[in-house]
Amino acid sequence: MKENPQMIRLTYREAVREAIREALRKDDRVFLMGEDVGRYGGCFAVSKGLLQEFGPERIRDTPLSESAFVGAGIGAAMGGMRPIVEIMTVNFSLLAADQILNNAATILHMSGGQFNIPLVIRMATGGGRQVAAQHSHSLEGWYAHIPGIKVLTPATLEDARGMLWTALEDPDPVLIFENSNLYNMEGQLPADAGPVDIDRARVRRPGSDVTIITYSASLFKALDAAEILAREGIDAEVIDLRTLRPLDQETFLASVTKTHRAVIVDEGWRSGSISAEIAARIMEGAFYELDAPVERICSVEVPMPYAKHLEQAALPQTETIVTTIKRMMHS
């Protein structure tokens, strides 16, 4: 098949890298800082080659000091820069949780609006790579609990490429979660792909029978499930939240009002999760539209096991989405 000449083929990783490169080119105030972002090329090779292109001042390797370099990002943002701080993975962001929650999220408010923090923090997230409990957390929903920050979860190449610039233009701290299983995902993007909005959910597959609400890597499991269901005559609508805070409830409430059924697929643990939040909002905003109870497919509440079969059993899976929806449709 002939490729569209205006389209380029690239991976999610390359899309993120292009976004960073574009930002560094467009704005002198932008710099990238984090562990192994320079000489090593980034622990997921996202920033590979950027050191050679932009030099060590702007592609800044840091010591293993998550709290200090995240805090330094906050300070630099207040001091007139536009830092992109990379934390290797969400698991290590816990060592900087104090800076994120107690400083980044509060200073605008505590200063009565005087000091905003135009900071972007990127980090990898998610399980599924057999790296066991300490390297497999999905805490983006947990961060979405915090007012004062924004939480983005780009799933598509378009969003991986386009969300960063919009996040950098935002006056307030934005956290971008990149599911590490997506970095090798390949696809096509227009050569001139650019910034996208960061506040609206998107309907990735229109449908009329049931709404699947999801985000990040689970989007593709949901889309696969929708294809399988379509063969059986069930037409699922798939919504990609894209942003977990602020949550675009308008889009999913409109969808549920149309389909009268909702399933939430969330790689986070069930208790106190973003899936719980969405279910609650559906109760508040579309209760009388429902033909069936809202269902949730989340990670099983266990520290992520190492063994492959156990790990896969712990994560939301396409089959579970399919069987859950069939049960809903026939009840």
């Binding site: 709290s67 200090a68 805090g71 007139g80 820069m81 200063s111 135009p118 307030d172």
Partner: protein
């Protein structure tokens, strides 16, 4: 539990303490005025706390005034300040109006943080005062970042970061010292060593209690100074700020001082003796400075009376301002969670 040892105010023998500095009458009166206004402001704050006009936590600075006042003399308007929750003194010395600080503690929208911060979170963009921070050690990385921004933008400015002896035990202290030294950033670290973190004496929390020595491990220039001597602090801070401003990297200045009041209004002071406090009060930075200036014939009783009157007027005005202040409408509750504008 009773305190085992009295921590005597003798840990200043080996450090620079210089009443030998010659000083003009005008400067002497200025320094004295700054210290007295902080002392009286704190007394008023304590009183208003008792009267329940001020609520929340209240950490007072009595005994430590020479540190904030001496250090601020070394800063310029373009410099930045990052402070702790015990920061009324820093805010006043930096030039935030007493009225705006008092209104903040009342929780009024005329306060320097619109009543969103309170005593521990005084902020002021005009004087580049980046807040009181109530997480021990939490301000150090911010100071490193502000300095990084200056360095990357070629701005010759100093970021001055205050923290207590307790913060030295936090990981953020060590991470920040290392980062500032590694990247040669213009941070002036001011450690206010008042010998206690709440009720835990320094010797019970540090294996090495000579804090300036810790800076050496990060190749940060360091000095300890008698924090009860405003002139000594001023001299040391000016020297340090010059080095930092010249781009020669960060500087660590340990100011050895003592807090006369409890940690906060809730402190019953079980961890130290009255005798120890009394002994340190002999070295009260205001009292000893006045003695010194009188001996030098630089100030008279009349000068002092006039200073006190001026300070009393200022504080009265501040209280009146706070009393007359208004409550932010509850409809505004969720303002300042996100910026009210887009695009930067």
């Amino acid at each position: 539990m009773s305190p085992e040892t009295i921590i005597k105010p003798t840990n200043t023998e080996t450090i620079s303490s210089q009443r030998i500095v010659s000083i003009s009458r005008e400067r002497a009166l200025h320094l004295l005025y700054q210290m007295i206004r902080i002392r009286r402001f704190e007394a008023k704050s304590a009183e208003l706390y008792g009267a329940m006009k001020i609520r929340g936590f209240l950490h007072l600075y009595d005994g430590e005034e020479a540190v904030a006042v001496g250090v601020m003399e070394a800063l310029r308007p373009e410099d930045a300040v990052v402070a702790t929750y015990r920061e009324h003194g820093h805010a006043l010395a930096r030039g935030i109006p007493a009225s705006a600080i008092m209104a903040e503690m009342y929780g009024k929208q005329e306060g320097c943080s619109r009543g969103r911060g309170g005593s521990m979170h005084l902020f002021d963009a005009k004087t580049r005062f980046y807040g009181g921070n109530a997480i021990v050690g939490g301000g150090l990385p911010l100071a490193v970042g502000l300095a990084l921004a200056d360095k990357m933008q070629g701005k010759r400015r100093v970021t001055c970061c205050f923290f207590g002896d307790g913060a030295v035990a936090e990981g953020e202290f060590h991470e920040s010292m290392n980062l500032a030294a590694l990247w040669q950033l213009p941070v002036l670290f001011i450690c206010e060593n008042n010998l206690y973190a709440m009720g835990t004496a320094l010797r019970l929390s540090q294996s090495v209690t000579d804090l300036a020595k810790k800076a050496a491990g990060y190749a940060v220039a360091a000095e300890a100074v008698d924090g009860m001597d405003v002139l000594a602090v001023e001299v040391a801070a000016k020297k340090a700020a010059e080095i930092v401003r010249a781009g020669e990297g960060p500087y660590f200045l340990e100011c050895r001082t003592y807090r006369f009041r409890g940690h906060s209004a809730f402190d019953t002071e079980l961890y130290r003796t009255k005798a120890e406090v009394e002994e340190w009060k002999e070295r009260d930075p205001i009292k000893t400075f006045i003695e010194h200036l009188k001996n030098q014939g630089l100030v008279s009783e009349m000068d002092l009376n006039e200073l006190e009157r001026k300070v009393a007027d200022e504080i009265k005005e501040a209280v009146d301002f706070a009393e007359a202040g208004t409550w932010e409408p509850v409809e505004d509750l969720t303002r300042f969670v996100y910026s009210e504008w887009r695009g930067v």
